[in-house]
Amino acid sequence: MTTTHREPPVGTPSPEAAPPDTPRSPAGRSFTILRTGPQALVQDLGRPGNAHLGVPPSGALDQPSLRLANRLAGNPEDAAGLEVLLGGLSLRANASCTVAVTGPSTPVRVNGLLRDSPCHLAPGDELIIGAPRHGLRCYLAVSGGIAVPPELGSRSTDVLSGIGPSPLRAGDEIPLGTPTGIPAGADVLPPVQVADELTVPIHLGPRDEWFDDPAGRLRDGRWTVSERSNRVGVRLQGTALERTAHHRGRELPSEGLVTGAVQVPADGQPVVFLADHPTTGGYPVIGVVPPAALPPLAQARPGTLLRFRPQG
């Protein structure tokens, strides 16, 4: 049997366990979580490269927004921040830091006053992220990044597998790393625009031949985003994608899934897989949504109208 290597206790310097660029948390650099809304998670750019072990990629669903927040806070783009679903997060800074909130337009208050990003927090300052008027997910970056211990090279919470830190709760103390860069200066931040109706590009395959007229049905069908959507996938309700007579009742041996895969269960209602998707699945995948089209999907509220645009 292989020997197991346990990481040393937190605070023990260990050059092997912590790469040089890993943020450390000097005493006192932390946030205290005072309240959360429906969900607040630590997210970075995830842990791709582990699917062969059954581990999903995870990571921020709206990566451009997390990257932007990190740049504004003076961090590398892959630093860990917070992914805040429908606002409702309040926290207290226990150290001087710079924060930036990105994503859909959202009121951000510090000690009760509306502030633009990036902004400075002094020890004791309280920050509240209100509910976005449109969209679902805001991203908060803090200078130095969130410094919870990484698992498989990432600090992201994977809601499917339970890897990474637990969802944030009131009373949690969240360690912050040491700032390494200079926060961006004054900026005009265009918020993420969230449309009431999405047209989503899709590349057919790998199992489009299981379906009747896949390009036509995808092009002409109409769906709405289901309230059962989450970080695993966006579930759609609407036009049923029906199998050909030859493929009805057949089973597919489980096969690898990519992020953006549009899987069609037996009821014909498609699911677009997001970052916390299972690594393999046994229902046929009719097509794949390209990476650039996924952030808008991750911001689509239940009820959003959706159509597909099959690509050549």
């Binding site: 062969h52 072990l53 890897i163 096969e255 393999t280």
Partner: protein
Amino acid sequence: MRLRRCGTDAVLVEVDSIGEVEAVRAAVRAADLPEVVELVPAARTVLVTARPGGLAAVRRVLDSVDLTHRVDTPSQEITIPVVYDGPDLELVAGTAGITTDEVVRLHAEATYSVAFCGFAPGFAYLVGLPRELHQPRLDSPRTKVPAGSVGVAGEYTAAYPRSTPGGWRLIGRTDAPLFDPRRAAPALLAPGDRVRFEAAG
């Protein structure tokens, strides 16, 4: 071997047997392409995901794969201690028409290899199961299979890294550390690894 398009950055390689899956996986792994992000074997497919623009290099490797040849890639040999007292041991013996002692002997004497992982982090599908132990899943899956359970289903045997629902016939249990995300190598078993079970306790 059929290549199926899987979005802009991935290709799903479809083959006819678990042996061909291993040939494709091992060949791509041995090529050690920096463009490859994910290499995911499954029952009859290998998914290869590349960095943007990296698929051409992957296709060149795939074009040269010999499905009859198994490339040797670095793999571990792992022995997993098992207490053979599972709740379905009698059922497995009865289905095979042998004694429970013979079930234990067959399961522990065989040498297995990890065909692929999935279902949950660290859940490894092992092939090499003796024919007598190829058995269907339970008619009614358990809502909770305890972590460490060792079971059989179809041509596979596996150990459950954590408690999940499951329909495999359970013949034993292990306390081997199957998955721990805090470890440098979190999964005890990875595709290509060789595995033996050892009767313990």
